[in-house]
């Protein structure tokens, strides 16, 4: 691992989120072509993010929402 890897490692989330400017993106893309460790780092992080994102698909029992609605409306009516 060299200093370039370390510099880019700190920005890799922003790179994946598309939050870096074009110049820095191009530098990271070029570095990734030559650095298998950073490619592995990027891919494993990408997968991690995607797995977390899929937690948003989790369903809540409809009975819980109904209970919440009832509790809120009752509390407001008192």
């Amino acid at each position: 691992m060299n200093s370039e890897c370390r510099t880019y490692f700190e920005r890799i989330s922003e790179f994946l989120d598309g939050e870096l400017d074009r110049d820095l993106c191009a530098k990271i893309e070029s570095h990734l072509q030559d650095c298998p460790e950073c490619r592995e780092c990027l891919e494993s992080l990408r997968r991690t993010i995607e797995l977390c994102r899929r937690m948003a698909e989790e369903e809540i029992d409809p009975g819980v929402l109904a209970r919440l609605k009832r509790a809120v409306l009752e509390a407001l009516n008192h």
Binding site: E10, S44, R47, I49, L51, R53, R54, V72, L73, A75
Partner: protein, 213 residues
């Protein structure tokens, strides 16, 4: 309208009201508007509370507190942000208050150095992160995967967990998350990166143990 949700009724009888219309109706005294707001956003707030606290009862308490507070102060909501962002701001404060009351989850910092690729003695490490697109049978079923990720999230210090949930689970942008938590965008980016590295480590540890017993 017995047996039919308010949202369904509105969709059938009129156009689906926008949040702005609901807020306006609420200000005119409509109880139906309140009901639609809870139906529309209740699931997301409950899920957020559940991921933050790990217990359904706590999630219900947080959600109830969020909507009650929102309806008490909705008159002062000026629409500078989306209604859902405002609800998450209230819910985030409720989560942090609940955590402070429990005092069993001290915040701690996560060092970036701990996750550098190729640390000394760690050369050539390959992270065992399942391919999310590989299909349900490739590594674990959905339920088991949910459990692994949920457990990893619970181990995250709370001020990292909240950022990960808002950004990666709920899909808020960096700017929106900064606004919800009232901290800088840079702090959001820093915490998010470390939270993701932490999650990667925990998920990988699980699969390494699975692979090597």
């Amino acid at each position: 309208m017995q047996g039919e949700s308010v949202v369904n009724h509105m969709e059938k009888t009129a156009s689906n009201p926008s949040d702005e219309q609901l807020v306006a109706s609420f200000r005119e005294g409509s109880a139906e508007a309140m009901e639609i707001i809870v139906e529309r956003y209740g699931n997301r707030i409950l899920r957020f509370g559940l991921k933050m606290c790990g217990h359904l009862q706590d999630a219900e308490d947080i959600s109830q507190e969020t909507f009650l507070s929102a309806f008490r102060y909705l008159d002062s909501f000026r629409g500078e942000t989306r209604l859902i962002n405002w609800l998450f701001k209230i819910a985030s404060r409720a989560c942090m208050r609940k955590r402070r009351k429990k005092k069993d989850e001290p915040d701690r910092e996560i060092s970036l150095d701990a996750w550098l690729p190729e640390r000394p003695g760690d050369e050539g490490r390959s992270y065992q992160i399942p391919d999310p697109d590989a299909g349900p049978d490739a590594h674990l079923d959905r339920k088991e995967m949910k459990k692994v990720i949920g457990e990893a999230m619970r181990q995250l210090p709370p001020h990292y967990r909240i950022v990960l949930n808002l950004r990666d689970v709920e899909g808020f942008s960096t700017r929106e998350t900064a606004d919800i938590l009232e901290i800088s965008e840079q702090a959001i980016k820093t915490r998010l990166h470390r939270a993701r590295l932490f999650m990667r480590e925990k998920i990988s540890e699980y699969f390494e143990e699975e692979a090597y017993g």
